[in-house]
């Protein structure tokens, strides 16, 4: 019997969900960070990072194929025992909450800095939590629709970024590999930051309507993410000089200052506001999935009560503590470290273990 049949998502929804979680708040700073590590060759690191990510995501799919009717925890519970499944669920829930919270805080800080300098951070946080609740309470199917819709209404954004190209200096990009491969490789871990999030497949997989297409779907979604990053990075690189780009915290936003119309002076303000829609794809699905983990832990079907509790905790805690930009940077660094562990290393180990286990039991059964 299919356990999660009532809440299926299509391949397209899966692509957009996965890609949406990857392209999140973090992409604003990406070009700057890449330039810092690898100069204008940073885009090569993006492609290398993409290749590694694709490999890791395919491993995730391979792992999930072993037990396609359940989530990662059902799988671990089956292979390693009930308690191992629970521990995995706790770890995953914590990781997802942390992911969501980091994204949320970053969005709050950005909003406050660019749009609402007078309003307190906790109010902004509360504001962002309203749509979060409205969307997350309805389950995965609605989340999938949300991801689709956000992608569709954001399709015009890349075209706006073509405007600054009239002042571009394509010579910034050459020569390729100015300082050899070393800086490029050193920037690769930075790019992982922009790709993490695909481990949500561990939870999304059983909900997929068309599981045969899962591999190609994740490939498309990773590629979509990569193309988006590549596009924005190259535009930033050719617009700013290699030194200048490092001066900005969010070059992706600052570049919009170049666009000016007679009726709108500061486009970037409007953009940051609109970007909130895209950013929300980073925390709304992860919050839902985190809550899904805890509900799984307690064996409940309905995730809404957990969501309400989490919502209240987040809302109340912001009154007492909200990280500053620097703290948020450190949170990001920590996120990338555990992200690499959970999303790149762990699936590989798990696959090897499952493989060995299958071989072993196969031998025993004979």
């Amino acid at each position: 019997m299919k356990k999660y049949a009532y809440n299926e998502i299509t391949s397209m929804q899966y692509i957009f969900l996965n890609s949406g979680i990857q392209v999140s708040v973090f992409f604003l700073a990406m070009p700057g960070k890449l330039a810092e590590k690898a100069g204008t060759d940073g885009w090569i690191a993006l492609i290398i990072g993409w290749a590694i990510t694709v490999a890791a995501s395919l491993i995730v799919i391979q792992v999930m194929k072993k037990h396609p009717e359940g989530t990662l925890f059902d799988l671990i519970a089956r292979y390693l025992g009930k308690w191992a499944g629970r521990v995995a669920a706790i770890f995953f829930a914590l990781y997802l909450f942390y992911y969501a919270y980091t994204g949320l805080v970053e969005a709050v800080l950005l909003t406050k800095a660019w749009l609402l300098p007078q309003t307190s951070a906790s109010t902004v946080m509360l504001l962002l939590l309203i749509p979060t609740y409205v969307i997350a309470r309805n389950g995965l199917r609605v989340l999938g629709r949300y991801a689709e819709l956000v992608y569709m209404i954001s399709l015009w954004i890349p075209f706006v970024y073509l405007f600054p190209l009239k002042d571009a200096h394509w010579l910034n990009m050459v020569p390729l590999l100015k300082e050899g491969w070393k800086p490029v490789f050193s920037a690769v871990p930075t790019t992982f930051f922009s790709y993490i999030g695909f481990a949500t497949t561990f939870i999304l997989y059983p909900f997929l309507k068309n599981k045969q297409k899962a591999s190609s779907a994740i490939l498309i979604s990773d590629t979509l993410t990569m193309l988006g990053y590549l596009f924005i990075t190259v535009i930033c690189f050719v617009y700013y000089s290699p030194d200048e780009i490092q001066k900005y915290n969010e070059p992706v936003v600052n570049i919009l200052e170049a666009i000016e119309f007679n009726f709108v002076e500061r486009m970037e303000v409007l953009f940051i506001a609109f970007f909130l829609l895209i950013f929300s794809l980073a925390w709304i699905p992860t919050i839902y999935m985190g809550v899904f983990c805890t509900s799984w832990l307690l064996g409940k079907q309905d995730h809404r009560n957990h969501l309400r509790i989490l919502w209240l905790i987040t809302a109340l805690s912001t009154f007492f503590f909200i990280p500053t930009f620097n703290q948020n940077d450190r949170m990001n660094d920590f996120l990338i470290q555990i992200g690499i562990g959970i999303e790149y290393v762990f699936p590989g180990c798990l696959l090897v273990y499952l493989w060995v286990q299958d071989r072993f039991q196969w031998g025993k059964r004979l």
Binding site: I135, N138, V269, L270
Partner: protein
Amino acid sequence: MLFSNWFGRKKYRSVPEQINQPPSDTISASLAQNITYLHSQFCQTPDLVVRHFMIKQSGDQAALVYLSGLIDKNAINNNVLRPLQFETGSGNSEYGFTINVGQINPLLSWPQIESAILHGSSILFVGGRTEVYALGTQGWPQRAIEDPQIEASLKGAHQGFVETGSQNIALIRRYIQNRELKIIELTVGRRGNSLVSILYLADVAHPEVLKELQDRIQQLDVDVIINTGELAELIEDNPFSPFPQFITTERPDAAASQILQGRFAVVVDRSPSVLIAPVAFMSFFQNIDDYSTRWSIATFIRLLRILAFFVAVFLPAFYIAVISFNFEIIPVKLLLTIGEFRGRVPFPPFVEAILMEVTLEMMREAGVRLPAPVGQTVGIVGGIVIGQAIVQAGLISNIMVIVVAFTAIASFILPNYDMVAAVRLIRFGMMIAASMFGIVGIIIGLMTMIGHLIALESLGTPYSTPFAPVRFADWKDTFVRLPLWKMGKRPLGTRATQSQRQGSNRPKGDGK
């Protein structure tokens, strides 16, 4: 014990007697006894007519009973009384007499008799028989079939639904002459027995959706359904949403076109509008005229409507946000111009906007309620007061007047009244959000609205289709209205089981 008895009796008494089971005993053979019992059931009913006479063919005593307002007098006089009283004949017909009416139903119990009388049949009691005959002589006051009032159309038919269910069904059947057009009749209501008919194409419409719709209507426990809107509210998926989840139309051509697409039409007797379900958000932006104007023009008008939706919802909010919060996005020159106009205005932008919007809503409501000759005065008074005087008095700025007027025009473009009402309500919410948090407030409002829209369902089908979930095949008839020969398939959003709608109609070759 005594108390419980007392309470019990009181409870029993408070139930109106009509709802009590009328005596289901069979009809007596004595004519006089029957009429006495009938009078006891229908006391204080002066419009109940009992006409005694003798049937010439058989020599039996008989009585004809009917409610005088609900029958067709000509039919009673010429087709019932005249043949029975004066015509001689062999009397070998099925019932032993001849009557010139189309429908004769033999009835055997009192509840059936009662309901038949109340529905406008006339009842023939014949002495010595324990069966009575309900004659189809209905004829209640009726309105002529006229041009629809709310949903005006330039090129569509000039026939609108009337207040008689059977007539409305006939109007739809005129468009779909096919035996696959099935009708399910349900009666709703304990007191009124409203006749509700579901019309659909049996080989196209999805059976699950039909079952859902039928279940919901059958489970209703109400006194009576006065209007289609009541039915819609009672069976819709999310009663807390401002968005309409069903279309109510008063055009037979629109209803027929929706049925052909695989949807269901619900005809409520006595109501001049018909319910269409399931529908999506984008259905409210389509109009029957779209399909009879050239496709490129229809597409342009569609895009205009969608733009109008966003203008009507967001424009005043955006103005408030820009003026009071995020003024840095306006160039200095423009800001100076706006400041010049706003300098004299004593109110903050939000109050200014609310004042104007509320005035406008009031004028609109007044214009609807007043009789047409007086209604025009409202327009003139409003035009002068809002357009001229209030600006000269320095109460409201020029730009606010422009914004409000633009918003009003935009909301008039939308073809569906229910959707316009939703837009009006949401606009105020957005204005409040914008006045508190500027552009961020608007974006949060937008996100919440999107979150609400994608979670909505109409009869279990997603409301936000074809955008979320994406169905590219349905895009042919959403933003754009592609040429009719391109739309060979029925929309997926209706979950039609038979998707092919038409063959290739495109002239081949060079069109000769």
